[in-house]
Amino acid sequence: MKNLNKSTQKLIISILVIVVLYIVMAVMESTGNLSSLMSGLLVPVCAYSLVAIGLNLCVGYLGELSLGHAGFMCVGAFTSAFFSKAYANTIPDVPRFILALLIGTFFAALFGFLIAIPVLRLSGDYLAIVTLAFGEIIKNVINVLYVGIDSNGLHVSMKDMMSLGLEPDGTLLVNGAQGITGTPRQATFLIGVLLVIFALVVTFNFVNSRTGRAVKAIRDNQIAAETVGLPITKYKLIAFTISAAIAGVGGVLYAHNINSLTATTNNFGYNMSIMILVYVVLGGIGNFSGSLIATVVLTMLPEMLRGLSNYRMLIYSIVLIALMLFNWAPDILKFRADHGLTSKTILGKIKKTKEVQ
């Protein structure tokens, strides 16, 4: 452990914490100590964590604000669910899920790549609004998409079910605004945790690789990076595509956890993109473990506050504002530094008391 460099140590610690958390949760679930609401949240938390990791790569390392990551999640979810449903009876469960995972990831990455080509010409808030627009377009198009399959092959329509012209033996795969129903529910908490760990390893390695360092250099000073001969567009494209792919994995997990998959504003629209962005910023921009912690806490928080019924979302929003002020307001930060209330000093104190013991 001592021979490893600092970032690798951090990665190992994060993974260990996740494993411990997983064991605690799994034990609690099997002994029936977890409410059904909580256990229903376990897989979505993993899915959101994956999207948050993807978005953090984009916001923290590429330095570009994306408000459309729910769109990539949506692409991953729908392509994989489509595949799973279309081949539900022809391919056995395990290879089908693996293939669905690969397909969902691939298509999310493809969309990320295609969208990145025009989008990365812009910068700042303009880039944010265009990613938001792309996310909304993806959601809207899926809502009017009808796909069916019969003995003549695939039928696609953007009008209604009737215009598909399916033979009597055909099945409807994507039913417009009703989305895809009857996706096999194969996503388990274990798969989710494994995917999160995998995504963490990939991103940690990526940001410390040669390419990752180039991406960071571009974020810190694009002109300087350009003058030393870094191909800006190439590195930006790589980072954005990987970021979209990870969000797509989250989508695959999300799709295989629910029976009927629909694209609404709340699950794949800008509301979701914004929610994920909240996780990323609260967890710390550029800090992947932080994103995980924020995702877990903020997803569980409304459930824990359920006893307060109607007031819970109100309290949630107040907590969100208070946390942002506490963590970012310059005056409050100064006050905390003066009175020894920064997270560093508090952690230091805890360490000291441990050493004394």
Binding site: I137, T265, V281, Y311, N327
Partner: protein
């Protein structure tokens, strides 16, 4: 005639977008922040007008004035509590706080007014005009909305150009530090901007719900996002840009709904936005900012 009717409906919707977009664009120009809570101020404004008119039986004009006053105060309070402490923090932190404020307003409205949509009574009691022998009908709502929008727009342009506070606004949006050195009270100017933006949001809320009477706590969010798009479309930070962006967005939306597909209208609006931004990366009237080394 069908086309003309759609065009007028589009202009009317576009005028509402333009009024909302003004709030976004002014705040962005001065505080360099995306005020995501702006859409929810519209909703609050609409509810206030509804409460005054339907529950207390006040006349429409009085209700709107009350709503404007309340929203102005609300805007100032939001700015003081949530945004002012973060003035020197990163843009992203302010953005997330704005999202928090947006959640707060939505849930507050949910608690006070309930989740059931209420049916908004139009603030305009006028049948409208009937032209070309009854073939072309223009509703009173549309006429009043378009005129209000133009009045606000030119009033605001005059205000920013010719008055002391307006000039202070322009100075702060150019360069905050230099404006401070010139003796401009930057905090007061930013508060004033929020006040104007939120007051306009109340008007926009009343006009929006007069044409689309379904009012619930989430009414403001989609028009908010669209108006934000309109502001970017026209070049964020520019007042005439907000007008052009808003009107174009409204017309495109209504025409797309009428001639292509009502479900794909939003997608088409956003696609046009993307194409415009790719051709002109800073919007139609946006200024090109050159980066210096």
């Amino acid at each position: 005639m069908g086309f003309l009717t759609y065009l007028i409906n589009g202009l009317s919707l576009g005028s509402v977008y333009a009024i909302i977009a003004l709030g976004y664009t002014m705040v962005y120009g001065i505080a360099k922040m995306l005020n995501f809570a702006h859409g929810d101020v519209i909703m609050i404004g609409a509810y206030l007008v509804f409460m005054c008119m339907s529950n207390s039986g006040l006349p429409a004009v009085v209700s709107i004035v009350i709503a404007i006053a309340c929203c102005t105060v609300l805007g100032i309070i939001i700015e003081k509590i949530a945004y002012k402490p973060l003035r020197k923090a990163t843009n992203l932190a302010v953005l997330i706080t704005a999202i928090g404020v947006s959640y707060f307003l939505q849930n507050m409205a949910l608690l006070i007014f309930g989740s059931n949509p209420v049916s908004f009574t139009s603030v305009i009691n006028w049948e409208g005009l009937s032209l070309a022998g009854g073939q072309l009908k223009i509703t009173g709502n549309a006429i009043v909305t378009i005129i209000t929008c133009l009045v606000i727009m030119f009033g605001l342009m005059w205000f920013v150009k010719n008055t002391k506070p307006g000039q202070a606004m322009r100075a702060v949006s150019e360069d905050k530090d230099a404006a401070t050195l010139m003796g401009i009270n930057v905090n007061a100017t930013i508060s004033l901007t929020f006040a104007i933006g939120s007051g306009l949001a109340a008007i926009a809320g009343a006009l929006l719900c007069s044409s689309y009477p379904n009012l619930n706590p989430y009414t403001g969010s989609m028009p908010g996002i669209k108006a934000f798009t309109a502001a970017v479309f026209g070049g964020i930070g520019s007042i005439p840009g907000a007008l052009i962006g808003g009107l174009l967005l409204g017309i495109i939306e209504i025409l797309a709904k009428a001639y292509i597909s009502s479900q794909l209208a939003d997608a088409i609006v956003f696609a046009v936005l993307i194409i415009v931004l790719l051709v002109k990366p800073t919007g139609i009237l946006g200024k090109q900012i050159k980066e210096k080394v």
